[in-house]
Amino acid sequence: MTQKKCPLCSKLSSGFRKLYRRFFGVDVDCQDINRRTLDDSQRVSGIIADAPDCVCEKFRMSEHSPGVVENSEFLARFVFSPMHFNRNGKLKPSVFSHVQTRGCSIQRESIANNDHAFAMVQEVFNSNSDTAWQGVLFGQCGDVRSIMVNGNRRSICIYDTADQENPAHGEMCQSEHFEEDDFAEIRHDLFVAFANSNLTPPPEYRGGAVWNRLTSHI
C-alpha cells in the first residue's frame, strides 16, 4: 500500500527552475530572505521557495557572517532538550528534525569563540527555562553536504545565518520539499554524519571554558 512518488516530476521541476534562473538572470537576495524568514515557524519552506537547491550557500546570508560555510569546516550541534534522549540516556535522531521546519542551528567551530558559544547557550535558556545544555555533537560540513536522498538529490544546505552576538551561528536546512519518508532517511544520515551522534558533555567542550562560565552565572 506504499504510495507512489514522482521523483521524475521533482527532478524536472528542479531542472526547470535552474534553467529559468540561468537564462533570465534571476538573482536572489539571500540576506533579505534570511531577514524575512527569521521568525517564521516554517522558515525552511520560505528559504526553499525563494532560493531552492542551496543557492544561498554561495552567498553570505547575514551581514554579520565572516563568510560562507566551507566544506572543510567543523560544525557543532548543541543539544538542549532532554526529549532527545531515551531512558538509557542515548540520543535520538529527533535532534535533527528542525532541518524540516525552522532550520537546525549549528555553530561553526573554526569561527566560534567562547563568547559566541556562551551567547548561544544563554539565548536558548532565555527562550525556555525547562531546557538544559546536554552536550555537543560534531560533524564536518562536507560530509553533511554530501548526504543524498534517493541516490542523487542533495538533501541538506548549510547556511551562514550569523547574528550580531554570535557570528559563528549557522543553520542546516532541507534543500527542497521531500516526502515524509525521505525525512526519516535524512534524520538517519545526519545522525551518522555527526559521528554517530556521540555526545561531548558540556564540561569537556572547549576544555570546559563555556561550561565554567555558565556555572559561575548560576
Binding site: 500500500m1 506504499t2 504510495q3 515557524s41 538542549f80 532538550s81 526529549m83 532527545h84 531515551n86 531512558r87 542515548k90 535520538k92 535522531p93 529527533s94 528534525s97 528542525h98 524540516q100 521546519t101 525552522r102 542551528s105 536558548v124 535558556f125 527562550s127 525556555n128 525547562d130 531546557t131 516526502e179 515524509e180 519518508d181 525521505d182 525525512f183 526519516a184 532517511e185 534524520r187 538517519h188
Partner: protein
C-alpha cells in the same frame, strides 16, 4: 432598646434557619464509592473484576457491600511506552527551546494505537517527538535502525535499515491492523 435589638436578632436568625435549605451535596451512588483506588495496590495499574468472573488466583477482596477482586500484574513495556507517548500531550510549543511545534494529538493517538498492536516478539521502541510536532517511534539496536513517523492523517512514513538493506515508504494505517510490511521489517 437592648432587649428589642436582641429579640429582633434572634427572630432573624430563627427565620433564616427555617428558610435556608440544607447544603446541596450531590448524592454519591454506592457503586461509585466502592471504586475508590486502594492504597495498598501492588502495581501501577489494577484491574477491577467482579468476583463472578475473577480467576481463582486473584488476590485481595475489597470491603463494602460489593465484592471485587484485583488482578495484580506488572505494567507491560508497551503500556510504559504508551504512557510516555501520552505525556507528549502535556508539552507546549517550543518544548525544545528552539521553536518546535506543539505536539499533534492526532499523531500521538496513532502512535499509541501502533504500540498497542505491537507484537510481543518485537523489540520495544523509543518514542520520539519531532520538531514538526509529529510523534515517531525509533529502534536502533542489534543491526536494526527504524524510524516510523505518524503523520496524524492516517499515514505512516518509515525508514528502516536492517542488515545493510534500506527500506522506506509511506503507508496508510487504520489503527487496528499492523501493516504487514512493517511487521516483517521490524520483526526481523
Amino acid at each position: 432598646m437592648n432587649t428589642f435589638v436582641t429579640a429582633s436578632t434572634v427572630a432573624k436568625v430563627l427565620l433564616a434557619l427555617s428558610v435556608t435549605q440544607a447544603p446541596t451535596v450531590a448524592h454519591i451512588n454506592d457503586p461509585l464509592l466502592q471504586q475508590v483506588r486502594p492504597n495498598n495496590r501492588n502495581t501501577s495499574r489494577t484491574m477491577f473484576v467482579p468476583t463472578s468472573v475473577a480467576s481463582a488466583t486473584s488476590a485481595t477482596t475489597v470491603a463494602n457491600d460489593y465484592s471485587y477482586e484485583f488482578i495484580n500484574r506488572t505494567t507491560t513495556p508497551q503500556e510504559n511506552i504508551i504512557g510516555e507517548i501520552r505525556q507528549f500531550n502535556l508539552l507546549d510549543a517550543n518544548w525544545d527551546g528552539e521553536g518546535a511545534f506543539k505536539p499533534k494529538s492526532t499523531s500521538i493517538k496513532e502512535a499509541v494505537s501502533f504500540v498497542r498492536i505491537l507484537d510481543d516478539k518485537i523489540a520495544i521502541p523509543d518514542p520520539m517527538l519531532l520538531a514538526s510536532g509529529n510523534t515517531a517511534l525509533y529502534w536502533n539496536e542489534g543491526g536494526l535502525y527504524a524510524d516510523i513517523e505518524f503523520l496524524g492523517d492516517g499515514r505512516i512514513a518509515y525508514f528502516i535499515k536492517s542488515n545493510g538493506d534500506k527500506h522506506k515508504g509511506i503507508l496508510t494505517f487504520d489503527s487496528e491492523k499492523m501493516p504487514a510490511v512493517l511487521q516483517t521489517l521490524i520483526g526481523v
